[in-house]
Amino acid sequence: MPLRDLYLLSPEISIVGVAFIIIMLDLWIERKGLLPILTIVLLGLPLGFTISLWGTEEQAFDGVLVVDTFSIFFKVLLIGVVTAVVIASQETAARFRRFQGEYYGLLLMATAGLMLMAATRELITIYLSLELSTLSAIALVAFFKDTRSTESGLKYLVLSGVSSAIMLYGMAMVLGVTGTSSLVEIAKAAPVSSLADNPALLLGVVFIVAGFGFKIASFPFQMWVPDVYQGAPTPVTAYLSVASKAAGFAVLLRVFYLAFGDFSSDWSMLFGVLAVISMSLGNFAAIFQTDIKRLLAYSTIAHAGYILIGLAAVASRVPGGEAFGPQGVLFYLTAYAFTNLGAFFVVIAIANKIGSETIDDFAGMSKRSPLLAGLLALCLVSLIGVPPAVGFWAKLYLFNAAVQADMVWLAIAGAINTAISAFYYLRVIKVMYLSPAPTEERVRLTPPIGLAVAMTTTGVLFFGIAPWFLLDFAIRATSGFPG
């Protein structure tokens, strides 16, 4: 194993190292409040390594690990997300009497798994990275150890086990047909020109989609989302909704463009159908929710549907337009990270004070805390996709990709769903601004969560006004794609 390989792996090595350091320091440090601060400072290490690798196009471990702008884009995004979640976790974690170090450590290990998912090109390695992130997340979901949290953890464990088993079965079939587990070799060894000519390859691909579908919370593996999101500690919910989805889409893009790129016309339709079902299902179910976390859970299923449009849009009428789909996916994932983290962080800030996550209890929040109500409204408006928030551009790019790919029906389905989603997002805003407040008691923003809210909502506004900064990165990240 050459040293260069280790350098290329340094972001993942260092983030696991930081996890170990935090868990060890937890034994000696009496003031647990220092742990998140140390975590954030030490996260500079993996971030530094990742940024120093920007621009390299190299492979390590016989091509299993690939360091390109695509994987680095996701690594920076994931490290950013975990940093924000650690900042936002402080009040929640302070409630644990024990295991605060383990909480942060597991968050970091889950991130290491997700980072590897975005950067590996071999099925067994991809599977193990996925399990690393899922197992760490299961412990985090059940961390409260009360009835609800334990139930969520158990559901997550069982359902992720089922979806992993299905995915492994699919990988075994692909291995059986092509004789290799490397994505590059699979593309070369695939014996047919259309998936329909080889049933086992087709079924293998469908089963693999099922496994990744669990990670991105798309239909038909969406049923765990509401229960798990509701029962888990809210910072963990925020983390799962954004990070796990981002890495899931990264690995989907990589696997399908690299290994099954020749069959794009076959799977494009599969993703198109999944996109429509996911967004319709998520949006319709969200209308009836009374709990803000459940509402955001169904909304995350809908957003998985919107992003799947980018995977369906592989073809293009204009030259160079083939990249619109992947670019749109990367842009949307980043925009969604800022927006959804922002929404969850405001919910954490409010819920920590008023002790409730029911939408009706947010009544009159515009009087009790004009700032928090305004920021939550901004995030919800961004989730609908209204300018000047970044969510508008994200939807615009994806729908444009669908139109360019001659899939106008997908863009129309997306537009109809956007209209439906406006109904339930606006209802929350209506409750906050128009319903009378039950008490005059102010809801104050405390420093750590305030910083997290500020970071994310600034992003929502900044990239909403100047989307080309982000788009430029998305274009550069997909330039060498599929690598």
Partner: protein, 167 residues
Amino acid sequence: MHVGTGASIAFWIMAVVAVVSASGVILLKDIFRAALLLVVSFLSIAGIFVTLNADFIAAVQVLIYAGAISILLIFAILLTRDVQEGNPSNRLKIPGMFMGAVLLTALIVVFVNTEWRLSTEAPLDSTTAALADLLFSNKFVLAFEIASVLLLAAMIGAVVLARGEDE
């Protein structure tokens, strides 16, 4: 590679035993017997691995599945209250069986209609050394290392969840 008649007969015996015992695991009401049948199923699958010349995998199957996991399962059953209630079915029995039948049909249709890639190489005498070479080769060492972090994360998670809030 042509499979000998003896291996064929052995395969069919073990395949039938594996399927019958696995069905028993689902259908029996007594979960203790179901757990024992699961051991039988694991052992016959180990036998199938032997007929495929996968001696190392067969040994691992016996050690880990038939050995460790089964003992863990039986311990869990012994420590469970209300174990006499067994393994009751619920109202999802019929839809579950229907889905199972659909999946089975799909898999059979797929497996029969697919041209599988057959290996022309002679089987290795001992697969253990070859597996070790592969596992520590540059290609799979990353997966090996991820597996070690995965086990550590699982262990930390288990400790966190199992250890109650004392004091």
